[in-house]
Symmetry: C3
Subunit: 135 residues, 3 copies
């Protein structure tokens, strides 16, 4: 029912993990059900977004970086580096869990929807995702 | 277990879909369970919000339009019209999936909670929602 | 399958409810499953965030209060007090429902993840949370 997926990420940005989630579901025999993704971190998050034009993802990243800049004098939690507090805020504004129905044995994503890990730190290392299937 | 609901929307704004979700559950016989809503688009999203005063919804829309305006020089993804990139950003800041428990055979919404489709484009057409029930 | 948890909150802020959710799961015998939290209000929300440094939570609160201030002339929904409309906006930008897998009978939270009620009003009273377990 649960699969843990380790995601290797080396810098800030949006990573398309749609195929990784599909791999975690490769043994699934359910036609209908619910897939829930849960990221076990507070400075990275999940996003379903447009999978076609990379410019849209670039704009999303630059927009959020402008809304939540580093070096904001408001921050007092600064011991873990200038990218840490912005990362927590960005994670709070986006999703830690996402649920996607299974239809005919496949994720019910729309034509233009991809699943993304949104990494908010500059030097993150490995991120853990739990893929839960219920039916 | 899954029902696809087609929602006809003609302009930007918040649409109360609480009764549409209720209709999709009209054959439900479960007393306790979980209902998950999933919208198959990247420029519209889901919101649970106050269902009483329309002024609250108007303020929400105008606030988000001010935070994420059209014609921002930051945008490079502009081929699909001036409302497209703001729509992706607004969708990223709100919900693509929502889960609501079933209590005594009914959605466990609070007294003032309604379920809304938040359409972020000006001329959207039909939007697809998947209503998943587990128990 | 569903447990209703009443949370007594007396002011705006982030409340760590991880142990309260754990108590609601104390009769659980499932090794693997899915726990969904749903808050039945439109001026409070749910957040999974860093549970270690209280300064991070303080920064989050002050950052969101700066983004969504009281006394914004944009607001027309003002009858319920100056903190009401900002509370609805803050709730719209964060989560009304969260789903967390069960792994080995325990919530699959990462090391630094706590579950928080984010109260957006100054004098809220009691908040209701529904804890749903599926497996």
């Amino acid at each position: 029912m649960n699969t843990i997926v380790n995601l290797s990420v080396d810098s800030q940005g949006l990573y398309d993990i749609t195929h990784k989630v599909g791999e975690a579901l490769s043994d699934n025999t359910l036609n209908e059900g619910l897939v829930t993704l849960f990221i076990r971190h507070t400075s990275a998050s999940l996003l379903i977004q447009e999978n076609a034009d990379p410019a849209a993802r670039g704009d999303l990243e630059r927009w959020l970086n402008r809304l939540v800049p580093e070096e904001d004098p408001l921050y007092t939690h600064v011991e873990e580096g200038p990218d840490d507090m912005p990362a927590h805020i960005k994670a709070a504004l986006t999703a830690t869990s996402l649920s996607i129905p299974l239809l005919d044995g496949r994720l019910a994503l729309g034509t233009w929807q991809g699943i993304f890990l949104w990494e908010h730190r500059h030097h993150p290392g490995t991120r853990q995702l739990v893929v839960n299937v219920l039916g």
